[in-house]
Symmetry: C2
Subunit: 303 residues, 2 copies
């Protein structure tokens, strides 16, 4: 089953109490694709980079079997770059700078051969661009949408227009509260179910993730890490693992989405253990299966 | 199997965005006993009240089958009273006043017939009093200890002495961080395992509860309530449900403690739906079993 991924590609500056990385490969499409590719063979990448984007990253993504047909390269432009600093408790970060570069002119064009992708993951980009992607698709099976506080602040109506058209909305607890005005996370999630999506995933960082739908509420804990090194990309990685798990099986019942939440949590748990994409760069089926078993064990009991 | 409960008895002033209650029956021993009694027949209550304590409350607790042989009454004293105000987000509360009354002279004397209780629940009282209770016990099967930030601040050494002697330490995430100096909840929980208890339960409010032991980590979510009316007593109620579940079965393996965490969560979920003890006052086996099934359903998936 095929997964179309649309999002940002970035060279990031990352600073946490554990260290610093400059020009680290990042961006929502990058994390989503790398994570999804571990679970699904056909991952289609749509993004934009400048002439400064290292060929080594292109080669690496290609070697992973990610199809870069949709990667636009602008030789005389600069790749999107975000600089962020995380503080001691890792729950708060300061954006040091945002240099849009070629990302400012991103107008995702979906290759004809990809208009019939089974699963579409709309990474965190302007909601109008997300809608523009959907305009180009022919009957996608499942549309998964991520977003961020910036668009809730600046482009609420466009975002609500996009949300109406998606099957699964993934956002964090703070965003869910911000978008709905509900303080209570569960109440916020339920309100979002009325806005279009048949399923809403509320990510709660160290407190795990919650899946809401008409079938009920499902909780998956986060992996109990003594320390996380860098939360950057964890949400995108979650979305990638989620989409990958759906692509790996034809089932579309509540069970399938519950398993997808666990796979998203599994992949995200690897992500935060290292800087940038380093935590998800060297995985294999065995390590993923091992941690999946650990997730099963964390909630298991005989009623 | 018998449960000995030692803790405070109070007439509380409660104020939340949902309303106000004056002279509401409260106190750790009260919540623990009421919750435990739904799951176990033999609940033994040790506490102290003043002459102002309404006979109706005595009658009610007695009618529930809670044995009040250990309830000391001081006719010319006043019952402990706590006044608290919860704000919009319910995660923060202001203590309006604390009138110790007869609680200042509480020196729990365990009736001879109760020195061989199977399970001991040390409700939130001064850690020296908790130790004094343990000094009077003969080989209790399981000792469960709750505490609060006040004792971590003012009586850390006495608290650590008590903790060394207990089997299960129950505390909230903030207390776990405060007691260990570890920011990370999981790391804090693991540190506490080195301080004496074989199991540590970290309560995370709306984010559920975590059980740590040498057998691994277990997570139980909180029940997804759209709104909670009054969090007072939720932690005590959790401890009561936890103890009650253990008393209802002879098993002392990891499975038994996992189920106990879920029962604690079930009882606590009823507690916060109403003011004070109102939420746990009118339960029955069927409602508890129904919500227990809902908890099972919230984390269930086929790997």
């Amino acid at each position: 089953m095929s997964i179309l991924v649309v999002g940002s590609v970035a060279l990031d500056y990352l600073e946490t109490p554990y260290g610093v990385r400059e020009k680290a490969l990042g961006g929502s499409a990058t994390f989503i694709s790398i994570a999804a590719r571990y679970l699904a063979p056909d991952v289609r990448f749509v993004g934009i980079v400048g002439g400064d984007f290292p060929q080594a990253h292109i080669d690496d993504l290609t070697a992973r079997g990610i199809d870069l047909l949709g990667l636009e390269r602008v030789p005389d432009g600069r790749t999107f770059s975000w600089g962020g600093r995380y503080h001691e408790d890792m729950n708060h970060r300061d954006t040091l700078y945002t240099e849009l570069g070629v990302f400012a002119q991103f107008n995702p064009a979906i290759p004809d051969a990809w208009r019939r992708s089974d699963i579409v993951v709309l990474g965190n980009i302007h909601p109008s661009l997300q809608s523009h992607v959907l305009d180009q698709m022919e009957q996608p099976g499942v549309v998964i949408c991520d977003t961020m506080n910036l668009w809730i602040d600046t482009s609420r109506e466009a975002l609500l227009d996009t949300i109406r058209r998606v099957d699964v909305l993934i956002l964090n607890d703070q965003e869910a509260r911000q978008l709905t005005g509900e303080r209570n996370t569960v109440a916020a999630g339920r309100r979002l179910l009325d806005a279009g999506p048949s399923r809403v995933v509320v990510k709660k960082g160290e407190h795990g993730a919650m899946l809401l739908s008409r079938d009920g509420v499902f909780f998956a804990p986060a992996y109990p890490l003594d320390a996380l090194k860098d939360p950057t990309g964890a949400g995108d990685t979650f979305a990638g693992g989620f989409a990958g798990a759906l692509a790996a099986s034809p089932a579309r019942d509540d069970e399938a989405f519950r398993r997808a939440v666990v796979y998203g949590s599994v992949l995200a748990s690897f992500c935060v253990e290292q800087f940038g994409v380093e935590g998800v760069a060297e995985l294999d089926a065995e390590r993923i299966a091992g941690r999946y078993r650990a997730f099963v064990e964390m909630v298991r009991y005989t009623p």
